[in-house]
Symmetry: C2
């Protein structure tokens, strides 16, 4: 195995790079998020990147200034939500986002977290961290809530609009590596998202991917096609799809959940009787809200890059940002990329053997 993955085991502690300037309410929420994450993971070192004038007062406010685990690195530029990804590459060399990614590329941190401009963050992450050798394309990967509470890993959520069959097969392996590290599942099951579970249904690309998997025995615990209504029932651990379908599904889920909750709220507020009942059941509604809290599922990884790069929702609060930091911590601690690199090598061997017709039995 080549030493291509940036190896976090070289250092004694996990170190996380934080872009304090990204997100709707930065650096207030981001620095407060670091404070929460610091409480949760007291052994972790943080490298916080941002404008001195705005970040230092926040660090002081949160009691993090002078803390030996928190290192502040001053930058002179900020990539805003409106910055074109192309410009983010050519200019903004001293931006908090770029420099936070750079320390991961340089092996000085194990993972980077930003709530900033998604397009810019993705291209900069690709540019500076580069794809793991053998992997064709990185994919946006995240955890979605399920009924049993353990969550489901879904990818790709928007990095690749057109995805050929062999890349879908790699996504299966990538999703399984993510599930192992973030959910702690030992042998995660994986399915391809389709419009029917029958073999004949779906796009030619999906059929091709399934046939590749089955022919080569390339993906352990591959369970076949799955439909969109089965995302939440916990039947599988990982769902793989192209970035177009995955993004539509993700947004549709967000919209549906919000829609149902709004209709419920409207109807329960309609009369004083229903309001009274709702008031009495408040503990139930709180528990409901907590179980579906999108902040708890915040943190999507650009999975497949040589360094760990986690994207937080731009509109989240400090707690949500701290959850994204926890995702980065889990991925770094459990060495997602080392495991991924081994798996991808094994996958390639299996595919080559299947291709050449040299069976093992």
């Amino acid at each position: 195995m080549q030493q291509t993955v940036l190896n976090p085991s070289k250092k004694e502690f996990t170190t996380l790079a934080i872009d304090a300037m990204g997100g709707d309410n930065a650096p207030v929420t981001t620095v407060e998020g670091v404070a929460l994450a610091h409480k949760k993971h007291p052994g972790v070192c943080f490298k916080v990147f941002g404008l001195e004038s705005s970040v230092v007062p926040e660090l002081k406010k949160q009691g993090l200034w002078g803390n030996e685990k928190i290192q502040f690195i001053a930058c002179s530029e900020v990539i805003s939500g409106a910055t074109e990804p192309r410009l983010a590459i050519r200019q903004f060399k001293d931006s908090s986002m770029r420099r936070a990614i750079q320390v991961v590329a340089d092996g000085e941190a194990d993972a980077v977290v930003s709530a900033g401009n998604t397009g810019a963050y993705m291209v900069l992450s690709k540019l500076l961290l580069k794809t793991i050798p053998g992997l064709q394309r990185p994919a946006i990967t995240t955890l979605l809530p399920t009924k049993d509470g353990k969550g489901i890993v879904m990818l790709d959520l928007g990095a690749n609009v057109h995805v050929p069959a062999d890349v879908l097969v790699q996504f299966c392996i990538m999703g399984q590596a993510f599930a192992k590290c973030v959910q702690g599942v030992t042998n995660p099951s994986v399915a391809l998202l389709n419009i029917g579970s029958e073999e004949l249904k779906g796009t030619t690309v999906l059929k091709e991917a399934q046939s590749m998997i089955q022919k080569a025995g390339a993906v352990e615990n591959y369970v076949g096609f799955i439909e969109g209504d089965e995302v939440f029932n916990g039947k599988v651990d990982v769902i793989v799809t192209d970035g177009f379908t995955g993004n539509v599904a993700l947004k549709t889920i967000e919209g549906s959940v919000r829609f149902v909750a709004e209709v419920m709220r409207e109807e329960l507020k309609r009369t004083w009787i229903t309001r009274l009942g709702a008031f009495i059941s408040l503990p139930g509604f709180r528990a409901f809200k907590k179980r579906l809290d999108p902040r708890r599922y915040n943190g999507a990884q650009f999975l497949g890059l040589r360094g760990i790069s986690v994207k937080s929702h731009g509109g989240t609060d400090a707690f949500g940002f701290s959850c994204a930091i926890s995702v980065a911590f889990d991925l770094a601690k459990n060495k997602v990329n080392e495991s991924l690199e081994n798996e991808i090598e094994a996958l390639q061997e299996k595919l080559i053997i299947a291709e050449s017709g040299v069976g093992l039995d």
Copy 2:
């Protein structure tokens, strides 16, 4: 204009053909559904197709036997959920499903409704009714719930996995015709489902479709790209997508709504206090349930065929089946196909003019 559309105006009353044998609990639910629809639309004539031994007792039970508006036609065969669509074409010539479609093809009924085998129903509808001239492909079209209660038209929900740009443009026109007839909207707005509202985002096919629409001014009230989380906010009247994405989105919506409702139910049942509160707010929960009741949105059309063919969910009850019948009635009464044929002709003219560079201004 050619007389290609099967013209319901030839007859004095609307006549609907009903496959009484399709669906999980047929013919009990289907015949009861006809009884409900008969009460709602007393002027409508029904042609009910099915096995004499099982349907006649149900018609008698519902007091429909001998009713002058209800005609029973005995068939000797039934297409089950397990019947291969290919077999449904070659065999089962005397099945209730096939004969119900056939009377629409023969101009003896204005629309057909079935809750049976979707694949078989689709191929038989295509085979017997044929596509409207000028239209490339039929699309599965239905109404989804929105916050404001008026619903949103979405197509294609699974008839076409791969859809080229010019077909997407036709789908826009088709969806608008459906919205006019079923929702009663005069100038329905339409959007293409995409993963971002910016022009640069999405698949090449989507970009091509949008550019065709904009260049030719081909679709009135076209509002651009829309994302999956905006399905429910009532911003547009019609959402167009390919059958793969549409089916995934539909199933994801179904799964999300069920998931949220189940989590809510679990949390409210957890303690006697939350149970008490929920009991007091029961009227609110009932109103909530009613607003999201999938039965009220039952009834998807194979839009683009020369006759109206409406598919009911197989698992729905009598009320749900009667809602699908109402959709068929609205489409027939408002002559969806005549309006569609005119619109498609106008669309073709506009596209040809745009293609040839002959502008109107």
